[in-house]
Symmetry: D2
Subunit: 350 residues, 4 copies
């Protein structure tokens, strides 16, 4: 049985790891770390766990955690994980970081977009970017996994095969994305109050959102060159879900646009045997409700012959495939388990 510690267990992503692991036959959480609720019963904060989880919240003492558990999930604000790890820790325990600390390979890029100093730049090189379907092999032997962001996972997976195979022009990629409010975290901010969010939508972080360089870096690997994209997130009045609508110009071959069948074949080539990526039937668009609570990414697309562009659309649950679910998927890979263990959750709708 894998012993698990969660730092940041009382945030939405942390609590979702707890929920998922209750259904995992080979792992159990033994440490619910929290900055704000030390000493309080975990189930008093998330009442759904009443009579299911009886533990109290502990602090975020990484040293002690490293002695007691096999893997630590850090579901914390940027900067914390980098400030806690060192060689001794990584020799004792595997770390899956849900923050952005080890997602970008270029420390200057990190410091520019996140506006904080990186406390452990020496581990950036070693850290593996935990986008399971793409980096599965590297994740296997990793000590430190950088779990991708929610917008990022959705944006990358939706476009990846078409960029990798040169079907679309990388310079034309535009990602327009919608997010449920859990993506904004559980901090007490006026902007996230019910009455500020309900019955409205808004773009935010336009041309400056921190998931931009992460998408650019990863898709850039697929393109084989540096990419610069537009990424515009929007806040939508619902609890969970990311929907990415992505636009790119199709590359003509012999003066002709690729057909729907050709594009579909490319997606199938990369995702045909993936359990958690569902390529939707022709003409079907993804809806976030159909992936709710699950680890699925649903992908659809539409070729617009009038404009020569393709519209790619992806949906996932930001707390599951966009955070906790993918983190557990990474854990499964790192510990040599069936990758889907504990994650074959049927979407819950309505």
């Amino acid at each position: 049985m894998i012993k698990v510690g969660i730092i940041g267990a009382t945030g939405y992503a942390g609590a979702e790891i707890a929920r998922i692991l209750l259904g995992h036959p080979e792992a159990e959480v033994v440490w619910y770390g929290s900055k704000s609720y030390v000493g309080e019963e975990f189930a008093s904060i998330f009442g759904g766990f009443f009579k299911i989880i009886e533990d109290k919240c502990l602090d975020d003492n990484m040293e002690e955690l490293a002695d007691q558990v096999d893997v630590v999930f850090t579901a914390t604000p940027q900067g914390l994980c980098a400030s806690l790890i060192n060689e001794d820790i990584l020799n004792k325990v595997k770390v899956i970081d849900l923050s952005a600390d080890f997602r970008l390979k270029d420390v200057a890029e990190y410091e520019k977009w996140y506006k904080i100093e990186h406390k452990a730049p020496s581990y950036i090189e070693e850290a593996v970017y935990g986008l399971c379907e793409i980096n599965r092999d590297k994740i296997k032997d990793a000590r430190l996994v950088a779990n991708p962001g929610c917008y990022t996972t959705c944006s990358i997976l939706t476009a990846y095969p078409l960029i990798k195979e040169g079907i679309i022009d990388p310079d034309t990629l535009i990602v327009d994305a919608l997010s449920g409010v859990t993506g904004a975290g559980r901090g007490a901010k006026v902007a996230n109050l019910f009455c500020e969010v309900n019955e409205s939508v808004k773009p935010y972080g336009v041309a400056t959102h921190r998931h931009t360089p992460e998408i650019e870096e990863q898709l850039g690997y697929a393109a084989g060159k540096k990419m610069v994209i537009n990424f515009t997130p929007h806040l939508v009045p619902m609890n969970r879900g990311i929907l990415a609508t992505e636009y790119a110009t199709l590359v003509k071959k012999d003066g002709k646009l690729p057909t729907e069948q050709e594009v579909r074949a490319v997606y199938e080539k990369y995702y045909g045997s993936e359990i958690f990526i569902r390529l939707l039937n022709s003409g079907v668009c993804p809806e976030t409700r159909f992936v709710n609570s699950s680890n699925f990414v649903d992908i659809g697309f539409k070729i617009d012959e009038r404009t020569g562009r393709i519209i790619m659309m992806g949906a996932l649950d930001n707390l599951v495939k966009g955070a906790a679910g993918q983190a557990v998927q990474n854990m499964n890979i790192m510990f040599g388990l069936d990758e889907t263990m504990g994650l074959r959750i049927v979407p819950r709708c309505p």
Copy 2:
């Protein structure tokens, strides 16, 4: 492996049975019956099941079903189940009816409240009222189970021990209840459109709602006398959840009100070993989000010494403990399985 047929699989309760049974190790659905979608893929209607359930919808031919399955769930409008069953059917297959056809023992009462003729009154006597925690023993051997209504399950379980033990005066019971919109079904009605329901609450069926006689009959058994209550349902803009707030005058003993400890002891006596009924800690009120997607009923109470009344509060998920979950729980009991099999679902919040 128990073979299961669902009539009404494309309604919300029917689809929820399908969802739950995907996690049940001893049962599998082999017949997704539907009136409106015969021949269509089940997953094309509920996209969450894409690549999980590959079956097409079948009709609601009870004769054929009885030959092919071990148990039939009828998640259909009132009247249908009563029109389909007969001795031959019941000799071949167990029937769990999620409609109201066999909930009331008095056929006149049924016809008065539901305003339709009962097509199979001869089976009313035999049918067992499937409120698992109360009627477990009778359910074991039943051929036909009347699965309780969502409001009813919540309303009864919240007050049952206090009525049974004479802690409250049955003549003073008032049940004020709130429901999510899945309770209104999946029919195409203007009244249930998003923009008619969102940003509003309303009472409905005041003093005439059909769950009233069901609550009265069942609590009347506990009281040992006929009961007449007020029951007022309200529609609330959320997908799932029932919250019942119930008021009753406490019975004084030797001129004194019962204490919180005494009331708690009564609840513990009846529910202390129940997995699916969670008596909340002192001062904690139930919230529907904390039972979402699960088979739990959360119960809290507050004694008001100023008025001599007790306020009892219960919450459940109308599609699970209020419909599909309790139906599966009944199936488990009828087939001699662990009662909680497939039902230890962790609440999903947010």
Copy 3:
């Protein structure tokens, strides 16, 4: 032109006063007081007012306000208004307090329920309870009006005529109420975050909510005796609206329950000429969407002959008739204007 100052203009009720007064031909806001946003543009906090209100937020200096305006609205937490007023202030300016400071006539009662010391008990006697339809005559000459609470306004108006005329037994009154989330204010609290409130309902303040003594005191005047009631508020995922569902035992005359016509006649007697109270047609229940943004209270009722009780139901918009609208209505009365001036707002639905 009446010059108006608002203390607490950046809360939801304060901003609603601003919105309403933009449509008032005889009053204009000249002071937008705020604790948190002094010096910032009011429209930068509530973007709806962009290019409509150009003022910056000022502080809450009551002395200076008293010199500059004709009336001050205090839309602030309990205790502030009482700490600011004195004889000098009240000689210069009329004060309409939206907090609870002057609603209860018994200072001990206030200090018990609100758990703070009252800083100006000498003005309690003078303050007029600003429930316009009931206390219109006293409001005319008041210097200090205690604007009623949102739950309170709805709960009182819904039951008032029937208590006043002895149609119902005051000792049996139970008020079960639902509120939109603006009622919880605009403070940055985790409990009011979108994802904590959305898709859930919960009771709170059970048997201890502070609007209880206010309802009891006012209805007690109608009953001609001290009343003790049960009042249970619930939080519902919508922005605006209060719905009160009230239960009471009907008083029989000559062994007979009053008829619907008799009850209706009583309501008509009190409210027949009121613009802002709409007695709904027989069989129609109020819905909060139909009073949204308006100053209306919609009232319906249903007699249950089976139990001998009546179910009274009232709905209002907590920010308008439950706060800002009633405050402006009080202002109109105090300044001798048409009581409906600026308040004939058509409900906005959906």
Copy 4:
């Protein structure tokens, strides 16, 4: 006093015309036409109008209407208005059509996108496209105005000045838009039930939505050439609101991108004196809540120097500026009234 008839008064747009005209000093509705509710009280369908509008619904007899009113609003499905008008009608009464019948100048284009035969193609030429801020002069003398679609109004106004002045490359325009659910109408469809829409977002009509050619035609006039764009609408769980996020490549001059100041100046040139178009401050993005219930369009933009693109963002209330409000604005222009009469509605938020 202008006498107004509404055909389709019991749809959301029709009812919103009724709501707006209650605040219009020079117009009154004398005919509430409805296909489904003839003979029923209008206020029994939209309870907010109880005791405000006492009329019963009438049929949609255009002949009779033309004799009784000065202007007819047709808030009906495509095809109806075209089937009702003729020379006799247009000689008697002005017609403002909220459907798409007269929006496209090319009848073949209409029939291709709408898949119905056009019944009155001879009036297409005469009809004026009622985008007030652009076509004000032509609207003045029109007999027949084609009121623009909700997505269209938002999409066009947001990009218009930059296309007109050659700031952006028209061939690169991509419009990604979000809509509240009132945009889907009030028909009883499963897809628009609360539980199908709530807690989810979805794209729809991808590359095929009928507002596409309308945007292309109108912006094409500004560009001075035929335009082909991508337009992707999404359904969002809220009642009202359109948000358009638009992407285009900036045209360099002398190798340099235009500056924010230059772009702002272009917007100011076209909209600086417009009451209903609010150019937001630098760095501020529009939010639909801030235009709720009002006739405003809020516009913001952001230059992304990394990609050389501009992100333009517009927000409006689909029922007001996107339908009923603009229709009334057209009426004001057609009748020589102050264009803003009845429309200076302060946004309502929350």
